[in-house]
């Protein structure tokens, strides 16, 4: 596209969403050329240290720790642009109302328990920061195991971008532990060494390293994480506040504000917060160049239209398909909103023989990657297991333990002695399974238009597939065996899949797959570059494009794909058309 033609638009690129995908895309584009970029964000919070300090102080009020929304509850944007704050609740009994007030449900087999935040900086404010890569077979699941889908790109297509993403996000990790993991080669070491093992990790590793669970040999490795193990990119090393979710108080953990703050130095890049995009529409030439938004934080809440030759939607995997469906775009395949996935997760808790002193350091430093691959994947999901450093995680905070003791009328000197004895030995293993992309699990546009801006809510239909259930059961059995190997006493070992078929599960809040990537325009929404099959100038970034969920946390992979998408956008802006 010629420069003159581009200048006839308000911007060169409009990006919807300022989370990791949107912020990283804007930053990287701005380094390719001095593009005029507009980022539109529904949330309306600051991105500086003052805002971080304010969020930090709000955490005093969160009661039982670990609520990903706790620091953000007093933002005005919470009422204007609601998010799914109670999503983790299970499906209520027939006739009872759903806890969640944002997700709408009709005839759903289960609730969709993954939440996200609508903030400047997106959900990265509240993420844990774990950044493992996908495995090569994760991109060709159908070809290898006959289930799920294949991506139009392979691990090798992404490897360079993985390296770049690790540098952009600032990932700490130990190259030698992970290079070649199930064929996942690494062409370059991590930008910094892995996090120091916790005291508990060291004790646990000593007891289980090299031992067998069935045919699988346990190897405890340091999880790659976007958390500084040394000063990096102008941010400090982790100080171990034990609070990665819901907020790193010092910014040692990457969040998208890192790139948004860098962009403040770019005069041609604008970030407009408090702007809810309500519609994308075509121009006279049939190209999706118009972005309609409502500026809710201005008097009269004006409706505004801006234009650009390239539109990139990076509003996470619920808002992105909702916007496309509201706009009646990109859906000739009828796949927009379908294939909604999460990592179905469960935890098993135990008491170690001796004090291991959790709640000191990052919430989790190590993982067992050994269960992520195998021929079993043709039958049931693999799983990825993490070792917690936060007591029993969701199952038991110090407050909950104290409450339990008070319930037994334990007062006086015994109270703190017993609390300390229990809390200091708490350990959890968590495992995340892989969901298959199923068309019936989907996001639609609800007929209810009852939020403050009179916009429709997402209507969700969701159920956990048999494939994931198989992984949950395998993860549960493996966890029990591992606790036996370390001679720990099981605390709560509720089977995720009960004999009567009822299911216990948690969300990993990894929302994926609603604008799925594929080669065939008839059964996918975007191509391997994130470009909509139906509209060559409309791109999607974020985990909504994932064709499979794999077992790794999605952020690094979505960042790598975003970097690849950005390169294509740059090429298209320079040369027109696509490769």
């Amino acid at each position: 596209m010629t420069g003159d033609k581009r200048k006839s638009y308000d911007f060169d690129v409009i990006i919807v969403g300022s989370g990791v995908a949107g912020a990283l895309a804007a930053w990287k584009l701005s380094t390719h050329e001095d593009y005029r970029i507009l980022i539109l964000e529904a949330g309306d919070n600051g991105i500086g240290q003052g805002q971080r300090a304010e969020f930090h102080h709000a955490m005093d009020r969160q009661g039982n720790r670990g609520d990903m929304y706790a620091p953000y509850l007093e933002l005005p944007s919470r009422t204007m642009v609601p998010s799914p704050e109670k999503a983790s609740a299970a499906k209520p009994a027939a006739g009872q109302p759903f806890a969640e007030k944002y997700y709408d449900y009709a005839n759903t087999p289960d609730t969709f328990r993954a939440g996200y935040t609508r903030l400047v900086g997106g959900s990265t404010w509240a993420w844990r920061g774990n950044t493992p890569r996908f495995l090569p077979t994760d991109f060709r699941l159908r070809k290898t195991y006959g289930v799920g889908r294949d991506w139009p790109i392979d691990y090798d297509d992404l490897e360079d971008y993985y390296v770049e993403a690790e540098e952009e996000l600032g990932v700490s990790g130990n190259h030698e532990e992970l290079d070649g993991l199930f064929g996942a080669r690494r062409s370059k070491p991590f930008p910094m060494r892995g996090q120091a093992l916790t005291y508990s990790d060291q004790l646990i590793k000593k007891r289980i390293e090299g031992k067998k669970v069935g045919n699988t040999t346990i190897k405890v490795t340091t999880t790659p994480q976007a958390r500084n193990s040394q000063p990096y990119d102008g941010r400090p090393a982790c100080e171990g506040h034990s609070n990665c979710i819901p907020l790193c108080p010092i910014g040692a953990k990457y969040d998208a504000t890192v790139h948004l703050r860098r962009l403040q130095q770019k005069p041609n890049v604008q970030l407009r917060s408090g702007c809810v995009v309500t519609l994308l529409s075509k121009d006279e030439e049939g190209r999706v160049t118009r972005v309609h938004y409502k500026k809710w934080n201005e008097p009269g809440m004006p409706d505004v239209i801006v234009r650009a030759p390239i539109v990139l939607v990076a509003a996470h995997a619920i808002e992105t398909p909702k916007l496309l469906l509201m706009s009646k775009l990109a859906n000739s395949s009828d796949q927009v909103g379908r294939n909604l996935m999460d990592h179905i997760q469960w935890e098993v808790t135990a008491l170690f023989e001796e004090p291991i002193y959790p709640f000191r350091g990052p919430q989790s430093v190590t993982a067992i990657e050994s269960f992520r691959e195998g021929a079993f994947r043709s039958q049931r999901s693999a799983f990825r297991m993490t070792i917690g450093n936060d007591g029993w995680g969701r199952a038991g905070s110090p407050a909950k333990i104290i409450d339990g003791l008070l319930g037994k009328k334990t007062y006086g000197p015994e109270l703190l002695a017993e609390a300390s004895h229990e809390i200091s030995r708490m350990i959890r293993l968590s495992f995340s399974t892989e969901m298959l992309p199923l068309p019936g699990n989907r996001v639609e546009v609800s007929p209810k238009v009852d939020d403050a801006l009179k916009l429709p809510r997402p209507l969700i239909t969701f159920g956990v597939d048999e494939y994931s259930k198989g992984g949950l059961t395998a993860g549960f059995e493996a966890s029990k065996t591992i606790f036996q190997l370390m001679n720990a006493t099981l605390a709560e070992a509720k089977a995720p899949v009960q004999p009567d078929g009822t299911l216990n599960w948690n969300t990993a809040a990894h929302i994926m797959g609603t604008c799925i990537m594929g080669k065939d325009p008839k059964d996918s929404v975007v191509d391997g570059y994130g470009r909509c099959h139906d509209h060559e100038n409309l791109f999607i970034a974020g985990s909504s494009v994932f064709a499979t969920a794999a077992t790794a946390n999605p952020t690094l992979t979505l960042a790598a794909i975003t970097l690849r998408t950005v390169k294509e956008i740059h090429h298209q802006l320079r040369h027109g058309g696509h490769r």
Binding site: T198, P249, G412, L415
Partner: protein
């Protein structure tokens, strides 16, 4: 105030609360916690104090207090609130009243007992977590 501190010490097992320096943080905490108890849990707190006054004269005041037939319902709730304030600087969580910050979260007595810092408030440097505390 002295009576509140003595009751707090009995319930929590924290001997240091028996005698508190008037210029200390603990004194400010006690003042605020006492006010919150009166404001938020008045009837249960009054009843708890009444039972405590009798129990304090017994050879084993803690058993006398917690095994008193009246140590139930609102009284039990009031006792739990006092403990939660001192250990976690938190009150509420009763259904009617969601969890509330009592103002001194970082100074909760549970953290030194488990050899940790208040979650979210480390004052230590990178890697401290590798060593036994």
């Amino acid at each position: 105030m002295d009576e509140f501190l003595a009751l707090s010490s009995l319930l929590t097992g924290l001997a240091s609360l028996k005698k508190v320096d008037p210029l200390s943080a603990e004194n400010r905490m006690a003042r605020d916690y006492l006010r919150l108890m009166k404001e938020q849990f008045g009837p249960g707190f009054d009843a708890l104090l009444a039972i405590y006054r009798v129990a304090a004269t017994r050879p084993d005041p803690l058993s006398a207090l917690t095994q008193d037939p009246g140590f139930t319902g609102e009284v039990d709730t009031a006792a739990r609130q006092i403990v939660n304030m001192w250990l976690l600087s938190q009150y509420g969580g009763t259904g009617k009243l969601p969890d509330q910050d009592a103002g001194f979260y970082e100074k909760g007595f549970v953290w030194p007992a488990i050899r940790a810092h208040a979650i979210g408030f480390s004052h230590l440097s990178y890697g401290y977590w590798s060593s036994k505390p």
